[in-house]
C-alpha cells in the first residue's frame, strides 16, 4: 500500500471542491518517485535476463548513440509519461521497450501503421 493509494476522494474525477490541496499534490507526484513509500518485506531474488530484455537495452542505448533521443528524454518517457498504473504493472525493460516504440512514432520515424504491420509480420514468423 503506497501513499498515493490512500486518501482516495469520494468519487472518480471528483468535483473541484472535493479534492484537497494535499490530495492534489499527491496526484501530481510522478509514478517513479517511490522512495520512502510503505511496503512489506519480499524475497530478494536474482533474475535471468530474457533475450528481448537484453536487446531492448541495446536498442535504447544505440538510439541515443545515434541521436534519436537522449537519456533524459528516455527517462521521462519511461518513468513519468507511462502513468502510475503501467509504471507498476509492466516489467522494467518492458517500460524501456514501450518507450522506444513510442519515440519512433512520436518523432515520425515510422507511422503507427508501419509499426502495427511490422508486428503482424513478426507474429507470423512464429505461427
Amino acid at each position: 500500500m503506497t501513499e498515493r493509494n490512500r486518501q482516495k476522494p469520494a468519487k472518480d474525477a471528483p468535483y473541484p471542491d472535493l479534492i484537497t490541496n494535499e490530495r492534489f499534490r499527491e496526484c501530481m507526484r510522478t509514478p517513479h518517485d517511490v522512495g520512502g513509500e510503505d511496503d512489506v518485506p519480499m524475497q530478494w531474488e536474482e533474475k535471468e535476463e530474457e533475450v528481448w530484455e537484453h536487446n531492448t537495452f541495446v536498442t535504447c542505448e544505440v538510439l541515443a548513440w545515434r541521436g534519436v533521443w537522449n537519456a533524459e528524454e528516455r527517462r521521462r518517457r519511461q518513468n513519468v509519461d507511462l502513468g502510475n498504473s503501467n509504471y507498476l504493472a509492466i516489467p522494467y525493460y518492458g517500460r524501456w521497450l514501450l518507450t522506444a516504440a513510442r519515440i519512433l512514432v512520436d518523432k515520425q520515424h515510422v507511422t503507427l501503421t508501419e509499426l502495427i504491420e511490422k508486428m503482424d509480420e513478426v507474429k507470423k514468423r512464429y505461427e
Binding site: 522512495g35 533474475k47 542505448e61 514501450l98 522506444a100
Partner: protein, 231 residues
Amino acid sequence: MAEKHKPAPMVDEVSEFEVLEIAVRELAIEKGLFSAEDHRRWTEYMHTLGPLPAARLVAKAWLDPEFKKLAVKDGVKASLDVDIDWIGSMPTNFGTPSDYCNLRVMEDTPKLKHVVVCTLCSCYPRPILGQSPEWYRTPNYRRRIVRWPRQVLSEFGLQLPEDVEIRVVDSNQKSRFIVLPVRPEGTEGWTEDQLAEIVTRDCLIGVAVPKPGQTSNDPRPVHPAKNPYKH
C-alpha cells in the same frame, strides 16, 4: 497433437514484448536510425562489462593509500587504473548515453556503512559494475532501503550493530556510486587479485561486506527466463 514425437516448441506463445522488440529494432534499422552493426557492437561492449573492474578498484585502494585518496576524490580518474574509461569508452567514444561520467566512491569506516540505491529509477554504474541485479530495480528495494535501511540490510544477511551509522546514497542520472568497504581482517599480505576476489557485486552496492573465503554473492533464488539471454 497428431505428431506425438515432435519436440516441444521453445515457447508456448511468443510474448507481445518479444514481438515489439523485434519490430522496433528492425524498423529502426530499416529506417537508417542505426545499423545492425551498431547494435552488434553495443552487444559486444555489454559482454565486456561486469563487477570485476570495481572490485579491482577497491583492492587497489586497500593496498595503496594514495590510490584510495584518488578514488574517493575522483572516481572517474581512478577508474582508468582498472581500465575503465567513462568518457572515451567504446563503442561511442563519448561514454555511454545512460551512464554519465561522475562516479563517486563511498568509503566505509568501522562506524559508517554506505549502501546504494536509485529511488527514482535504477541508475547504476554500468561501465564499472555491469548490469544491475533485478532486486535493485524493484520498487520494493527503492521504497524501503531509504526508510528502513537497517532492516533491509538484515534481509540481505547483513546485521549491523546499532552503533554503526548507515548512509544510503541515492543515485541520479548524473551521479553513480560504488561502496569502498572496510578491508576485512584475515586478509593481511594478500595480493590485489586475492583481495579483488572477495569484493563481490553485493559488496560494491553495499548490501554485503567482504569476507575471506566468500567470492560470490550470497545465494538467493533465481527467477528463470522463458528465453534466456546467453552471456
